[in-house]
Each structure stands twice: as C-alpha cells, then as structure tokens.
Symmetry: C2
Subunit: 210 residues, 2 copies
C-alpha cells in the first residue's frame, strides 16, 4: 500500500495550490476566482475555468444575502447534502422542495417535470434567496419563466444543470436573462455542471476561507 | 424564453440515446456499458468512457448483493443523497457513517482524516456490501488497508474519488488490489470522479431499467 497524506487540511491546501498553479484564472476578479477554484476541485478538471460565465457582482451579492440570513434554495437533495453547514454565516436554511408531497400533483397539473414543479414551492422564499441549481434544466427554465412573469428576484443563481438535453440551453438562457434583466449568476457553460460543482460554488460563496 | 422538453421520461430517453450515439462503449460488456452510460449522464462528458476501469463481474456481483439485501456504504452524505431509493431492489440500507459523533475521536486517535476514520465504522456491515466512494482518497486507501489486514470483503467497490491529491493514486491502488486479490471494482481512472458520478454508478447497478 502506497503511503498517503492523512491530514485533511493539508490535502485541501495542496489541492487548491495545484489548481491555482494549473488553471488559467487571469480573467476572474479575486472573489470569483475563489469560487472557480472550488468548482474545479469538485470535478477534477482545471479547464472548467474556460466555461465559467458570471456577473461581476454575483459573489458580493450572494455573500451579503447569506450574511443577512437568506435561505439557499436547491433543486436536488444532493446539492442540499453537499452544502457544508459549518461554512454558512447565519445558520442559513438549506431548502430542497423536490421531495415535497405536493410536487407530483403540481407536475401533473402543469404537465411538466417534478423538478420544474418544485420551483413553484420556492415562491414565498425566492426574494433575496441564493438559488443553487445542479441538476435539472427544467428547474432553471421554469425559474426564469417565473422571474419574467414578475416573481420576486433571488440575490443570485449559482451552478448549473449537467447533461445532454436542455442543460446547455438552460444555462445560456440564464446568462441571457442575467445580462438583460440584471439577475446575478455564476454558471458553467456547456454540458458540464451538476450537483457537486454547484454545491462547491455555494460552499465557496458561503465563506472566504479557502 | 426558449421552448423546452417538460417530460422527465422523454428527457432521460433522449439523453441516454445521445450518450450511446456519441460515446465509444465498444470495449464494455452490455451490463458494464449501462453503468458507464449513467456515469456519463452525471458528468456531461462522453469521453469519461475512456477512463473507466472495471472487473468483468462487478455488475453481476453488485446486483446480486443488492437483490440479497446488501447495504450500500457511502463515504459522503452527497453520495447517499444521490442514491435513488425507488431503484433499490430490496429497500437496501444506504449508510454514511461520516456524520457519526465517534468519527472525530477515531480520526484524532489514528491521526488520519475523518473520511478514513468513518470506514472503521463500516466494519460490521462490510461483508458482502456494495461500497460507494465518491469523495475522499483516504476512504479508499484505508478501506484497502483494512482488506489487506483481513477485513470482510465487500461485494463490490463503485465510483471513485475526484481531485488533485491522492485521487489518481487511490483509484490505481483499488485497481491493483482488485486485480491481485479478486475484489470487484468499477472506477474512473485519473482526476475525474466524485459524488454525482458515484451515485450514478450505484443507481445503474441497482436497476437494469435505463
């Protein structure tokens, strides 16, 4: 058996140091770079940096929202499970409405996915929230529909769906909406994304501690 | 707003069809290919196929273990959260010992990470279990140490750690141990891996339904 590092803090330090040496982070402000480093850590690929799209104030706004006690609205139980509670500045509520028993009914009534229907149950907590979408394009599409129809605006939308059907388009729609309507966002263009990368973005935003 | 597919089952079908058209799956037996397709679905990258290492009977053995009621031992809450309970054939127990209050004490006593210490608490359930490691190289290293020291053998080890420090080496150690000592495994060589890919492997093994 090979010898291996057994000090968790040392492993983190060395990982982030390798990422900062290998990844091209030059186009990012320092606060965005810190988030990108942690997202790269979650997928093992330094070239993820090239696919990151963001609004310049997204980290400032999302941090302020969390410091003020905003909830984190997650599309899946995996994203919610990946949020490190010890990093949250105000014991923020981490919400995933997908397992709510009303979701199946709403999905049938609206002829849509359970992931899209689950967004309906965010309505009363959306104002100023930090939204973390790591799985379903339909979550992101439906959130943008609700915002276009006048729903309260979240402080920021982080992460992004992964995959082959709708993921690319839903994240481009987020960027387009963000640019034209002033919504703060940080996402991964293309097919990559997912729960681990999204939870990592939330964890980086939650605390400046690297 | 772009129109988008709202039928969850249709989205899955179309995703898997794109993956099967784009990914080079020729070297895999059919049961392994089904697992690889779902792992690709979880990371959005068809070239993941090239990095998959496996023992030929891993899916047969892991499926039989689950059908017989074996528990699924997960290194993180994210992997555990990502296991789709409806796909499990025997309402199998999904275990993550990391949040156990004894873990911090064990880690300090053994001068190792919490992830490695958490493996100590698998001991009485390891025999014939399906192990899913999606985050920590130290979990995998310590599991291999315990097996080399005579611990009961799991039915299969699925997934693999992601990242920059120890991930590559821990997965190579798994493959080496598997080949020399007959442990069943399915993993991702290199830096890629993680909770989402690992949960996808478990979900594919749990049910033949694509």
């Amino acid at each position: 058996m090979a010898d291996y590092i057994r000090d968790g803090a040392a492993i983190y330090r060395q990982s982030f140091s390798i990422i900062r040496a290998e990844a091209d982070l030059r186009r990012f402000p320092a606060d965005i770079a810190q988030v990108v480093v942690r997202m790269i850590h979650a997928c093992g690929q330094t070239d993820l940096a090239a696919d990151i799209a963001f609004s310049p104030d997204v980290v400032v706004r999302a941090r302020a929202a969390l410091a003020g006690g905003a909830p984190i609205l997650c599309d899946t139980r995996m994203v919610a499970a990946g949020v490190t509670r010890a990093r949250l500045p105000a014991a923020n509520e981490v919400v995933c409405t997908l397992p709510d028993p009303r979701v199946a009914e709403l999905a049938a009534a609206h002829r849509t996915t359970r992931s899209a229907a689950a967004v309906e149950l965010w309505a009363d907590r959306l104002d100023g929230a930090v939204v973390a979408v790591g799985n379903a394009p339909t979550t992101l599409f439906h959130l943008l529909e609700l915002l276009a129809a006048g729903a309260p605006r979240p402080a920021a939308v982080l992460g992004g769906p992964v995959g082959f059907v709708g993921a690319v388009e839903s994240k481009q729609a987020l960027v387009n909406y963000g640019r034209s309507c002033g919504l703060e966002y940080l996402t991964v263009l293309g097919r990559r994304g997912g729960s681990a990368i999204t939870a990592a973005a939330v964890n980086a935003v939650a605390s400046e501690v690297e």
